[in-house]
Amino acid sequence: MKAFAYAKAPDLAAALAAIEDPGTSVIAGGTEMVNWLKEGIATPERLVDINGLPLDGIDARPEGLRLGALARMSDAAPVVAAEYPVLAESLLCAASPQLRNMASLGGNLLQRTRCPYFRAEVLLPCNKRAPGSGCAARHGETRTQAIFGWSDACVATHPSDFAVALAALDATVIIVGPRGERTVPVTGFYRLPGDDPTVETVLAPDELVTAIDVPAGPHTRASHYLKVRERASYEFAMVAVAAALAHDGGVVTDARLALGGVAARPWRLDRTEAALRGVSLDDTEALRAAVAASFAEARPLAGNAFKVKLAQRATLRALTTAGSRGMVAS
């Protein structure tokens, strides 16, 4: 680990001023940053600690949720459990209780991939760690890598569960920087790798995530987060599905679906969502066909073709579980 300076930001203005310097990184819960420091993934000159900023509110309002970027995962989960089960489930099936007590919601969105080549204790061929060094994973161990949206430069997936649930609920990220405040949908917050996998989000180096807005709606109660993994707890998703539905007497009027563990960003299933409108939740064949509509564009790698099948089955399961909740729709 390279030595670095450390300071606490007394207020938002001071934090923003500090990160105008490109050698300065932000630390909040630290559950990711400390890993990066130890493995040499991040080598900042200075860390600015933003834990003292008043950004930890968790406000449930009729029009939706406003979740402060510094709210802890374990604090947010119980507040959103009744009206937004998909969010609570995505928070509680992530990490361990100790990590959830520390990890902030903003930091959760800014996790980096668990690709084993990227996370190695030494530098391996990885365009995300060292641009131009290649992607050892592309023709290497691909079991946990992407099936959508990857490029020859990078095949990694994003590890956040919470981001997948937010993407399904059309949440937005509030960003503050020297150019003022702006709002970005979670689905547009992440970038696909393309030629430059080092840039993972639209967040500029001099900007901070301050809050997340989640709009209310008839679909948020009939929602579910299904995480598929071999270890029963404390493991990243092989495949995950966030599903939120509005339905009228079991006939889908509105469906929102996002996948985790399959791409560098939460992967919305737009075609499936469109195909589900008017479909009865009892009609398994129609549900299956609607799900399949989004998988024609799947591009599995040598070692992860099973994820295409797994993701479709998980989507079907998540849909039916979500449909069994919140019986009456708009």
Binding site: M1, L124, A136, H139, V228, R231, F236
Partner: protein
């Protein structure tokens, strides 16, 4: 004779729970220097150049040592060394992760930063040799537990006479021990006296290796290790870091502390090698075996032949007129493998007990009945009588506790909601490693009894076991007994491996306590021993004794046994398996402490669950490195994975094994779990998984294999 007293709580428990127990890296040493290793980043080649300039300039760095300035070390061979290649002795790179330099600094952080700044470049870098690419060869003698090959009867004739033959290939992956406490060494020299605080399963082996490396008499080397934060085999032998810390301390003239990083734990102290095992079983119409063939091949390093004795249990498990077992090795680019809980049978019984299940389906016979029909009267390969053979009792007892009799035989015949339910079972066995040990017992006039033995406490509860034995033998209160352990200045004991400590050290303590009791009884007067000591004008009286297993058991086939039954729930859509319950019954000699014995078996079953469902260390073929050197990439079970575990014992005192009647127990619980789970998964799904771990993709295929191995008319 010793009787179990119902489970003494661990006398060392409070110290461990509160953090008061000292582990190697906790040892306070004045003026200590911190060391960090620089591992090779290629799997095979030669060091071209090592640029130390930036590291030497870094804050706090005192020295950077490479093969050009390390003292030449002498070897004693393996064991006690884990591998024959000594560290920093030449410019050859034989495996990824091999140390190529060591940085010494004032603080741990400075040493680690210095190590990051060392730039090594390599020449003659070749494509790593991967398992499966090369030739399988008969291992040279050395790192083998047992004979690599053996044959009795005519297997071909037995197969020709068989009416049902099952043959299949089973694989197990590379695994890493991953103890919670990483290996650590604190070394200091006083003249030509070396003191080492070490996380080791064998203080005397460490002493032997260090004395040889530095050409010293053994009594010039003291090794201290009261507690180990888990070892599971990776601290059984002596590995490069221990020699490096002691050598660096000699070079710098300052005490040196070296704590391995988690990533270095994947390349510094061995691993369990993958195995590819082929099993062939032939039976007559009644399900009686006519032939058994079990061959295994495992990868080893290019420089040592570590033969994983996976076929060991097949030698004595079932009656058959013809048995053929063989272990081969293949030379690959990796560190030398080493035993890992449970070696040998822990791997081989996955194959044998899976094959027995396949055979039971081919015969349409209950798998418990198949095993009972093949119960041998004597050891089938040696003809020796068994010292005890309570396997049928274990099978029947565990089957009854589990409720096996109601099981419908057909796969996919039990369902609960979205889940398929399956029941599976396996027989369990382990070899009994009996190793000599000494101990001293002292009774003091102040009423305290002191037990002294060099042995180290690895977490199994040995101090409680020794307390129980001494208290029972002397008839004193267990609360008055103190156990001093983990120091080569104490009486010599064997390593804490091979499930041997209770039997070996326990027998030595029993012998010493018996001798002491005789001495005390010879004193004049009556009343309690402390009073009689005082009356005789003595502060204390002691006795030392050594137990040698050669004194008994000659000509006997001595092993431990058990039976395990599991229920699995399989989500066939998602390929997920969970194990809600497990029942196991063991016969492992006299159980000295039922409380810690039960803990051992529960831990073993959880460990076996990891083998079955989660653990796999991928050796990346292009890079020749273990890919994920961290606990997020190498998965071990968590509490949420482990359902209800019902453990029971069959009282089976075996005085052929030891005078206590005790036998090895620690690793037995890890055996058979993976086969029982795989067999239950087959019962649930109709999918036969012959490759561990049982991952999602192995179960996603909805087409299930009908149980139709070859059956001849």
């Amino acid at each position: 004779m010793i009787a179990a007293i119902g489970g003494l709580r661990r006398p060392d428990g409070a110290a461990k729970l509160t953090g008061a127990a000292d582990y190697a890296a906790d040892t306070p040493v004045d003026g200590v220097t911190h060391a960090a290793l620089v591992p090779a980043t290629v799997a095979t080649g030669r060091i071209a150049h090592i640029d130390t300039a930036a590291a030497v300039r870094a804050p706090g760095v005192l020295a950077v040592l490479t093969h050009t300035d390390m003292p030449r070390l002498k070897t004693i061979g393996s064991p006690p060394l884990g591998q024959s290649v000594l560290p920093l002795q030449d410019d050859t790179v034989r495996y990824e992760g091999q140390p190529v330099a060591m940085v010494l600094a004032e603080t741990f952080e400075q040493a680690r930063r210095g190590a990051e700044l060392v730039r090594a470049t390599y020449a003659d870098v070749a494509v790593p040799r991967a398992f499966g690419d090369g030739e399988s060869v008969t291992p040279r003698p050395g790192l083998i537990s047992g004979n690599p090959a053996g044959r009795v009867g005519d297997v071909e004739a037995g197969l020709a006479a068989a009416t049902t033959v099952v043959t299949a290939t089973y694989t197990t992956p590379n695994r890493h021990h991953s103890p919670m406490e990483p290996s650590a060494t604190v070394a200091s020299w006083h003249g030509d006296q070396l003191t080492v605080h070490e996380s080791t399963q064998w203080v005397f082996g460490t002493q032997m290796a260090l004395a040889a490396a530095f050409d010293l008499p053994a009594d010039h080397v003291r090794v201290v290790c009261p507690f180990i934060g888990g070892g599971f085999g990776c601290k059984g032998f002596v590995w490069p870091h221990t020699l490096l810390a002691a050598a660096a301390a000699r070079v710098t003239g300052r005490p040196v502390k070296l704590v391995l990083t988690r990533a270095q734990m994947f390349t510094s102290c061995g691993h369990q090698p993958a195995t590819t095992q082929t099993l062939t079983l032939g039976t007559d119409d009644d399900g009686r075996l006519t032939a058994v063939r079990h061959h295994s091949v495992n990868p080893t390093s290019t420089f040592d032949d570590y033969a994983e004795n996976a076929t060991g249990g097949t030698r004595w498990m079932y009656a058959s007129p013809a048995i053929d077992v063989a272990v081969l090795v293949e030379h690959t680019s990796r560190q030398t493998p080493t035993p890992m809980r449970a070696p040998a049978e822990g791997l081989g019984m996955f194959a044998l007990e899976s094959a027995m299940d396949e055979l039971a389906y081919a015969l349409r016979m209950d798998p418990v009945e198949l095993r009972l029909r093949n119960e041998p009267a004597v050891d089938p390969m040696t003809g020796q009588p068994f010292s005890s053979r309570p396997l049928p009792d274990c099978l029947r007892a565990a089957a009854q506790r589990f409720g096996w009799s109601g099981r419908p035989a057909e796969p996919r015949s039990m369902r609960d909601g979205d889940e398929l339910v399956g029941w599976g079972m396996a027989s369990v066995t382990m070899d009994t490693f009996r190793l000599p040990s000494s101990a001293r017992v002292r009774l003091q006039a102040d009423g305290r009894t002191i037990v002294e033995a060099g042995t180290q406490e690895i977490g199994t509860g040995l101090p409680g076991v020794l307390t129980t034995i001494a208290a029972q033998t002397l008839g004193v209160d267990p609360g008055s007994v103190e156990v001093h352990h983990g120091d080569t200045d104490l009486p010599e004991t064997s390593g804490t491996f091979g499930s041997s400590a209770t039997m070996g050290v326990g027998s030595a303590v029993a012998a010493a306590a018996t001798e002491l009791r005789d001495k005390l009884d010879a004193l004049a007067g009556t009343g309690a021993y402390p009073r009689r000591l005082a009356d005789a004008g003595l502060d204390s009286l002691d006795a030392e004794a050594r137990w040698d297993p050669a004194e008994r058991g000659e000509g006997r086939s001595i092993h431990t046994y058990g039976a395990i039954f599991v229920e699995v729930r399989v989500d066939p859509d998602l390929g997920l398996v969970r194990m809600p319950r497990c029942t196991a019954t063991y016969a492992a000699g006299r159980i000295i402490n039922p409380l810690t014995a039960r803990s051992q078996m529960i831990g073993g079953i959880a460990w076996g669950y990891g083998q079955a469902m989660l653990e796999e260390s991928i050796l990346e073929p292009q890079l020749g490195r273990f890919l994920s050197k961290n606990m997020a990439g190498y998965l071990v079970p968590v509490c949420a994975d482990i359902g209800d575990i019902d453990v029971s014992f069959i009282e089976d005192p075996d005085t052929d094994a030891s005078p206590l009647g005790a036998k090895g127990i620690g690793e037995l619980g890890a055996v058979g779990v993976s086969a029982a789970i795989a067999n239950a998964v087959f019962h649930a799904t109709g999918i036969r998984v012959r490759d561990l771990p049982i991952s999602i993709e192995r179960l996603l295929n909805p087409v299930w294999d009908a149980p139709t191995p070859t059956t001849r008319p």
